[in-house]
Symmetry: C2
Subunit: 200 residues, 2 copies
């Protein structure tokens, strides 16, 4: 089986959310698995010298318009949450705890977190909302609660973000297929052609 | 005839260059004309709080890789110029002087300037290189030289950049079709579908 597609995202990234609704089907068309990697854009934006799209002059208005347009284009339910962005640490940490036991369950959890935020307008910085998604995906909630209380998972997420930056990742969604990086949900057609043609 | 596609770009924008090689054929497929608008990204980047892509940590390396990959994807000759970016004021001012007399000639001139910089590695901040492109496109070089020496064309370009910013334009290439804005050469497929479907 060919190597999985690496998929990096922040749970508060609208384009990351749209990608989360598309990537599994794309991968399946090419007999690939997907490795999901939630990261935090905060420290990355600091390094790149930028901030949340919606807060940047000019870019903000276009982005808000384009989030909704892109979601409609892909027929994905979307509403920009009132509180945007919010902290996504708890959701990301929970992901890795679930992922260590069962990657498929973690991917299901990730999709639920994204939908809770961007389709249902729920506040995913609230641990109760994260736990609800975890329970719905069949995770062991008591074990998860215990894991989230420790320091190890904080260090783990920090390491995941640092590794992403070391790999040159600076945005969400981000994909790597056979070593080739692609940034942005609008690059999925190019990524798919890259797989089909084996590059160019 | 439906409204023309508006096309904004900086002559030193690699993605703007790739777009300049694609936009006419796209427009022709839909019975549209193209209105070319060179602008200067310098003052826009200042407002948005960013800078040339290649100079941004992490983003720089990805961008250089992606410029070349995108050009190959579209089968457009491309080499990142040694001197990058350079000032594009002279080329942009020359464009508007030519455009006032003959828009089709100005579009041809624009394509020649882009190719001189990104395919041939010539320094388009050098007025001699700009004049060569103007001559090749059949422009009146003595009249152009005279026009470039005056203040009116400087004010004109400044106004074009200010108008672009007022319209919310903050990147290159930028397209507007029937009032709908699209940023980036990678959005051309979406733009084309927007035309075909009349939006969504």
């Amino acid at each position: 089986m060919p190597a999985p597609i690496g998929f990096w995202f922040d749970f508060t990234s609208p384009y990351g959310y749209v990608a989360s609704e598309l990537i599994d089907a794309l991968a399946a068309r090419h007999g690939r698995a997907v490795r999901w990697h939630p990261i935090l854009l905060g420290p990355i934006f600091k390094m790149v010298g930028t901030g949340p799209l919606t807060q940047i002059p000019l870019k903000g208005d276009y982005s808000k318009h384009d989030f909704a347009r892109t979601a409609r284009y892909h027929q994905v339910a979307f509403r920009l949450p009132e509180k945007f962005p919010v902290g996504s640490q708890v959701a990301a940490r929970a992901f890795y705890l679930i992922d260590d036991a069962d990657p498929a369950r973690a991917a299901d959890f990730a999709k639920r977190v994204f939908r809770a935020y961007f389709a249902e307008g729920r506040d995913i910085s609230d641990p109760a909302v994260v736990m609800e998604a975890a329970a719905a995906s069949g995770a062991d909630v008591p074990a998860l609660t215990q894991g989230l209380a420790g320091d190890a998972i904080k260090d783990r997420l920090k390491a995941e973000v640092e590794n992403a930056m070391k790999a040159g990742i600076f945005g969400s969604p981000w994909f790597v297929v056979d070593g080739e990086p692609f940034w942005g949900v609008d690059r999925l057609p190019m990524l798919e052609e890259w797989i089909s043609r084996g590059g160019w």
